[in-house]
Point group: C2
């Protein structure tokens, strides 16, 4: 098992002496820039002896991961240039930003997008100063970095981002450096399996390069401290063919890396040729590289008697007391001089021509590859007319249908019209979420082994475009990589388990916020569309652990510029919302809609009007006829709307003199002031719907206090009484669960009675009826295991 897959050391002579000298010089230039970024505020070319005033007052940045990143970059450039390859770079150890910023500057791209960081001494000084400096750029590969679609601020997602970018880009190679720290995270550990979802005939290539620099912040890494045999077996087990490039001698390592990269590129080409010659493509053993180099490679071997190169001590700034300690100042100066800057840059600070010639030009530069600014490649999604999928709703509130099923048909035809730029992602639940119509056009991609029984309803195919793996992390990583490289996608998941990717949402929202509002050269990308289905209210067989509507709470903490939340109450409003989301850019759109059968309330025409407003009065459920009502009943969410409507039906029948207004909210951010969110409501809009002093009973899909969090500035907030999920549940019938959390029709009627003072005295009989209804419905459910059939009838009388 061993020999076949190791490489490098055996092959020699890939580089001639000139090539070796030049590639090493280019790498030295990168490293010089890295050290300069971390330490220098002036004297960028070391033209005068280094003085304290040339050093930043506060030293911030990460040196340790940087040299290996630019080492890989330098070697990629050689093969890109030679073979005219299309390559982007994913820096897993994104905190090693100097190792990415340096190459981008040397390739001229940095100066093109930030002209003040020009290719001369003055520009270099600004380039150094801005790094990890207040008011300027971060020490991670932030969105301001040209050539990047992956920040690496939070670890775990480099490899899934890489695979997402490679899908449907047959000629693209995504070189993904995975840090051995990041490799310990769960999301990264399972993302290796992405190779079972890549079709070599149609998709591009991910070349993973595991950089074993041995250390995290203060600890060794697991993968650097297991045997070679285990390491090799692990990646063979993951389905790769690992090649090892190990050492620290610069010249030897250049030779090994060049030879290995040649082998690997040849392997990739052979895989493509075989797969693209026709016939059913099989899963190949894709090559990957294990690059074992010292942490802080080329830096000081020792600092104050302690090992520095090859130690966790190189993780950030190897020595910090440069302004206070002359020895440290001298060490820094000799370290900088060790790269021989005078051989690398001319007197004006411009990279020497023979070194400039090493990098590719134009859009072949990794730092200028358009796939890493995917908006420039993005084509509009071709969308069918959503009206064609509408449900016929001749009698509102009478027909039960699965809300997500028409959406599945709409997505099916969206897929059909965009067969190389649109994908649907979900953790094993496309059919469970009633979206299986998509399979009529494209099945689930599956490059694992196939069995005869898969023919019977397995819906698997080598060229499927539906991505299903039981890892929300991997799915969302794929989707983000796919979107940021200029395509379109749709992710659906269980509402409760969206929390698995909370932190990925946070990071993507931050990325979009910065791109949209602070990085003008980044073109708009498609929004990330997330459907939360199998919601809290219908966990009939899964119970408490599957009940959590709190993902949208998280969403409301992020920038209003990029966050949208929709809770369509039925199938037709869901279609309208989905259409809007699929057209939008630079946002994260959350749609909450359950998959079970629910009552249908709106025709498609009504849905269009209602969704355009985002919230509004439903006249047929109201009887205030334009006057000031006694009470406002409001709802947001499918089950919440059904129960609120049922409550108004009871009230209209039993208390016809009560003036009642029914308001439904589809676009959650309409509940915030316009000053806080672009979809927010003006005070006048809010007051005219919810009144300024009448009680409002608001039946909400999620945790009730979210509505208070959004609406607390509005005038009538003090009369806003919100019902929602409050962590009461187990195995329950739908009505029982509603009752436990008091979002049911009976409790809502009681809420109204409690809050309209003139009713309180003379409605004891109705209150009693409601209490009895609660008791008898619970008793029925506990005896028969189901709700009484008639409870859905009593909603919206014609």
């Amino acid at each position: 098992m061993g020999q076949r897959s190791t490489s490098g050391a055996a092959q020699q002579g890939t580089l001639d002496s000139d090539e070796l000298r030049l590639i090493d010089a280019w790498w030295r230039a990168c490293n010089y820039l890295s050290v300069g970024m971390i330490y220098l505020i002036d004297n960028p070319l070391l033209k005068e002896p280094l003085k304290v005033d040339h050093v930043k007052q506060r030293l911030l940045g990460h040196w340790g991961a940087s040299p290996a990143l630019s080492f890989v970059w330098a070697h990629l450039n050689r093969v890109i240039k030679r073979d005219d390859l299309d390559v982007i770079f994913m820096a897993g150890p994104g905190h090693g930003a100097p190792g990415v910023l340096g190459p981008a500057y040397l390739e001229g791209t940095y100066s093109e997008v930030y002209p003040d960081k020009s290719e001369d001494a003055e520009g270099m000084q600004k380039f150094f100063k801005q790094f990890s400096f207040p008011g300027h750029i971060g020490s991670h590969v932030t969105p301001e970095t040209p050539g990047s679609i992956h920040e690496g601020g939070e670890l775990g997602y480099s490899l899934s981002h890489a695979y997402g970018a490679a899908l449907d880009n047959p000629d693209l190679i995504v070189a993904c450096v995975v840090g051995d720290g990041e490799a310990e995270t769960g999301p990264l550990a399972t993302a290796w399996h992405s190779n079972k979802f890549v079709n070599p005939a149609r998709d591009g290539t991910v070349l993973p390069i595991l950089n074993l620099n041995g250390y995290k912040i203060a600890n060794p890494t697991i993968l650097a401290r297991i045997s070679h045999r285990e390491l090799e077996a692990l990646f063979e087990g993951y389905g790769y063919k690992p090649f090892f490039v190990e050492g620290s001698d610069h010249a030897e390592m250049h030779e090994k890396m060049a030879a290995t990269l040649d082998t690997v590129i040849a392997e990739i080409r052979a895989i493509h040729e075989k797969a693209r010659a026709g016939g059913e493509p099989e899963r190949p053993r894709w090559p990957m590289i294990v690059l074992r180099t010292p942490k802080g490679w080329s830096g000081p071997k020792e600092v104050k008697g302690h090992k520095a190169e090859g130690s966790w001590r190189s993780h950030q700034v190897p020595f910090g007391d440069v302004r206070d300690n002359p020895d440290s100042l001298a060490l820094l100066e000799s370290w900088l001089h060790s790269y021989k800057p005078e051989e690398l840059f001319d007197a004006d600070g411009r990279l020497m021509p023979e070194l400039r010639a090493l990098a590719p030009t134009g859009s072949r530069r990794i730092s200028a590859n358009p796939h890493a600014n995917g908006g420039v490649l993005r084509r509009e999604l071709k969308l069918p007319d959503f009206r064609a999928y509408a449900l016929e709703v001749s009698h509102a509130g009478q027909v039960l249908q699965e809300n997500t099923r028409p959406l599945g048909e709409f997505l099916r035809d969206t897929m059909r019209a965009n067969m190389s730029t649109f994908r649907v992602f979900g953790p094993d639940e496309t059919a469970s979420n009633r979206l299986q119509a998509i399979y009529e056009v494209s099945k689930k991609v599956w490059m694992g082994d196939l069995l005869p029984e898969d023919e019977d309803g397995g819906e698997l195919s080598r060229d499927g475009r539906v991505m299903e793996m039981l890892s929300e992390h991997t799915l969302v990583g794929w989707l983000e990589g796919y979107l940021l490289s200029g395509r379109h996608g749709f992710f659906h998941t269980y509402e409760a388990f969206a929390h698995v990717v909370d932190s990925m949402f946070n990071q993507h929202a931050k990325w979009l916020d910065i791109c949209k509002n602070h990085v003008p050269w980044r073109a708009s990308v498609s929004s990330q569309n997330i459907l939360l289905s199998s919601t809290v209210w219908r966990q009939d067989h899964n119970g408490f652990s599957h009940q959590d509507p709190g993902f949208i709470d998280l969403v409301t903490n992020k920038s209003p510029s990029v966050t949208r939340v929709y809770l369509p109450p039925d199938a037709n409003t869901l279609l309208v919302v989905a259409d809007e989301c699929l057209r939008s850019t630079d946002c994260i759109n959350i749609i909450v809609a359950d998959k079970q059968k629910h009552l249908q309330f709106t025709t498609i025409d009504e849905a269009v009007v209602h969704c355009a407003k985002g919230l509004g009065v439903w006249r047929r459920a109201s009887n205030d006829e334009g006057e000031e009502p006694d009470v406002v009943m409001a709802s947001c969410g499918d089950v919440a709307t059904q129960e609120a409507l049922a409550a108004t039906a009871i009230l209209r029948e039993r208390l016809p003199e009560l003036k009642l207004r029914f308001v439904n909210v589809v676009d959650l951010f309409r509940m915030q002031p316009a000053s806080e969110h672009p979809h927010g409501s003006t005070e006048r809009e809010f007051d005219s719907l919810f009144t300024v002093d009448k009680p409002v009973i608001f039946n909400f899909h999620g945790y009730p206090w979210l509505i208070h969090k959004l609406a607390y500035r509005f005038r009538n907030h003090e009369h806003l009484h919100v019902r929602g999920y409050k962590e009461k549940g187990n195995i329950n019938t739908p009505l029982e669960l509603a009752i436990l959390n008091q979002v049911d029709r009976f409790n809502l009627v009681i809420d109204v009675l409690d809050r309209v003072p003139r009713l309180q005295a003379r409605t004891a009989y109705l209150r009693e009826d409601m209490k009895n209804a609660i008791i008898s419905n619970l008793s029925y459910a506990h005896t028969h295991g189901i709700d009484r059939a008639e409870i859905t009838d009593w909603v919206w009388p014609d």
Copy 2:
């Protein structure tokens, strides 16, 4: 590489024919109970022909994973009984609850804790009916299940839970069945590496049993569809010695499993003997089992012409139309009869004596093992007196100290006093978070390879008790397993990346809520203590991606019965809070405290008094002297408190006639009404601190709207003006970041001027000064890269 580690098939004759017959009968009894739970509401022993009325009206549950779970259980019982082993069971596929509930019932434990589910026909009928039935128990291994500390509702954590339970339990074997669906999740994929943190001399054993039943809800699984060679290499790469038990024939599989289990137990014993003979323990290759069985094993081979056993169609209820379709009713009846219940249960419904004899007795029963009800084993943590670690604070607001450093010393001595029942967990950041004093007593456990340079500050040791791995998922999984099996622990992490484990928090909170409030036989366990450090306000070199104080928002959505959040403003309050948290039970305690140097405000005596109240007036920063103030300045969090105090210092100096009250909040839930949270405030308490009509400027550590979410019911809410983090940041000095989010002293002074009407006219000069201060401080930061030194001086004049 191959032969050495496969097993099972070669060895025959482990079981004699009687043993084989009996173990198969016990397993049949389990399967019979599983099918009964899913389908039957009556006629539990099939004494009369099956009729529609015997079948539940709604069929809910998961059959597919159940048979393999009870198969493993049955075989474990054989070796437990023979060798008097101490074994608990972790059901990764927790939705296969029937496969766990059945054995618990057969062992008599279920009837002991739920006497109405007695060991007779009547009890069995109740046992069947309650399963996945409204108002009763879930279809997962919920907290109501004796013998379990792992629900499996959300997938990914079985293996880390298992390892957590095994730590410091040298004689315990945790048999952990990992489903091949769960194996695709990130958290599980990295948890295999937990074997690098288990010391065989001191810790117990995890025996992972990967059950390849081949399918998830609707898809094949990755690990079931790769080659045998890849599968074997993967687990060798993870550091295990895999044994394969594969097949479907019941008798053959009993033989293979028995033989393999004998081999595996012998291997474990050999590892222990070697490691416990003395000398430095090395990492062994722990055995694990790959159990490949059909999904829905022993169920119908076909249903309506489609493959059922061995297909995803067996995932939940293999056929549901039993009440409508006589063929299906007949199929169910013959399926049930295939287990020959009359051979398994006597006429009264009691398990036959020869089968009862197969299970161990008393606390050796897996279902009654006290490690799975860890509270019964828990001993109080021996805590040193926290006062001994207090900082001397002779001049409040003048000395800068790292808030977490004294905590590190307190934890060090806590560790010393509890060397087999307390552990500290963190992702590579114990030293970064200034807790490194702990290493004086116990280093980081490391069973990977050791290098000579580790001696120089590596702080690694085979018998360390500090757990560091770059996987928050694994760490929290270990901690949960450790706590639920009766021990104590402390987890610290970067505040922003606590979101990585949002969903684990949700699930643990739900588990604790049910145990505490609904399962009286579960004994109290130690609280989960989580320190969020490296907070949003001090990400000087990491920037925007590391700024997220929203984890505590999530916490406020879960049951008030189990959630606590503390924001101590300085080192001494942090000590007091930590002491309280370490003593508490059945809660999740979140402590938010930054690691950087901060001003110290309270002596330890003041800290004790202040923390006991949870919030209170700081008189030295106030000048209202018991009268009604003009304005209340409130703060919560370390940086927020420093800035709010600085604002009051400015105001006292510049507007001495302004009556100002300063309130600090340590216990966040004091901001909620007492009706909502056990730590909440009464209306009287709240009104007396915050007044009923004066402006309150509340400077908050986190997202500002969280305070509104908590406090919206209080009378003075409409005058509550909250400042906090609002997603504005990048690389910033501390003061610059505060200014961007308007939590800084200067903006707070302006807030006061804006909100005290009588000040507005005559304070233009002060407002102008504040604006100038903002401009000049930002300018200084952008020029020099640091804050002006004097900004911390101006806080709390004596």
